[in-house]
Symmetry: C2
Subunit: 204 residues, 2 copies
């Protein structure tokens, strides 16, 4: 049945069109511009057409959410590809995470701060992309421990500790909570804070 195959393919294509358009609006005009009607306008379909491809808006947002985690994982892989020293890899992983967050605030918000895409059915592989990035962190921490770093600490708790730290830094920054620091000072604040944190961790 080549004919139903084609239909399947076309359906998948339109699904991608929706996601890509949403992504585009997302990147260009920020979170709030991603309304079903905006997307529909852009692709010249009726708003309700989207419901034939996504159960509701959350499910669409969840697709963007997944997209974001794919991007993050890609950055991780690219950054770590040429590095072998565990501590070096650990440090670069953290820096990559922070840079991704600061450079893609909309994605970061959707991935780690928004409540909406989380209340979709989180069964099956829906949450897998996220787990992959998390596993990435735990793996690097494990490597560090295997090389003598963080003596006497569990990799799971330690991973979570550094996640809390970098997430806190990124989310405060992108949500404009650094107004008590001078504007020009902020970048160096983030930089130096990162170094401080690393120095605390490095002490054995």
């Amino acid at each position: 049945m080549a004919i139903s195959d084609r239909k399947e393919r076309e359906k998948e294509e339109r699904r991608r069109l929706i996601i890509d358009t949403a992504t585009k609006l997302f990147r260009e005009h920020g979170f709030e511009k991603v309304s079903l009607r905006n997307i529909a306008d852009q692709i010249e379909y009726s708003p309700t057409m989207i419901y034939l491809y996504f159960k509701d808006k959350n499910e669409l947002l969840h697709a963007l959410h997944t997209e974001g985690f794919r991007m993050l994982k890609q950055r991780f892989d690219a950054a770590l590809a040429s590095l072998s020293d565990p501590w070096e890899r650990f440090k670069v992983l953290g820096e990559t995470y922070v840079r991704f967050g600061l450079e893609n605030p909309e994605y970061y918000e959707l991935m780690f701060m928004s409540g909406e895409p989380m209340q979709t059915e989180m069964t099956e592989d829906a949450w897998n992309e996220g787990l992959l990035s998390h596993a990435c962190l735990e793996s690097e921490v494990k490597n560090c421990i295997a090389s003598g770093y963080f003596p006497g600490h569990e990799f799971r708790i330690l991973s979570f500790t550094v996640w809390c730290f970098v997430h806190g830094m990124v989310s405060l920054a992108i949500k404009d909570r650094l107004k008590m620091y001078e504007e020009e000072e902020r970048e160096s604040l983030l930089q130096r804070t990162m170094e401080i944190m690393m120095s605390f961790l490095e002490k054995k």
Copy 2:
């Protein structure tokens, strides 16, 4: 002019009525239930009446925001009142912050994660309540340094470092990002992570 005084007073009373009702809906049914029409229904006024007391919804949210910081500061003062040891005070401050966030997720979100109340005119004393809590943290860190803790570190950067950490922990928790950890395990994870962080800081 006692008559215009009374008017002033009544106006202030109605302003408070709006804030209190918003707070109530906020606490009872969460963030999303705070719509101008919901508030208006509750106090049996028309929705547009609110605009006579607040420029727009952001300004109202900002009032709740301020309310939240007042609550937090109060908790800080209550928790620290009987403590004198700098390190003890520092630890309790952190624990109080985390507990406040976990117990008042709606307030915490508004105060530290939401973008809306921040885009009001942040001149004058509008942002003061927030600064007060921040100053509280910096003051305790300063005290620790004065007592020999954190040798060789600036209080500003160190304060920010621990803020990042606790904020990251709270915000990940209340935004349901701990699904990769077993449900029963989560509370002890937060507890132990807090301890780990403190132990890292304590090492001189």
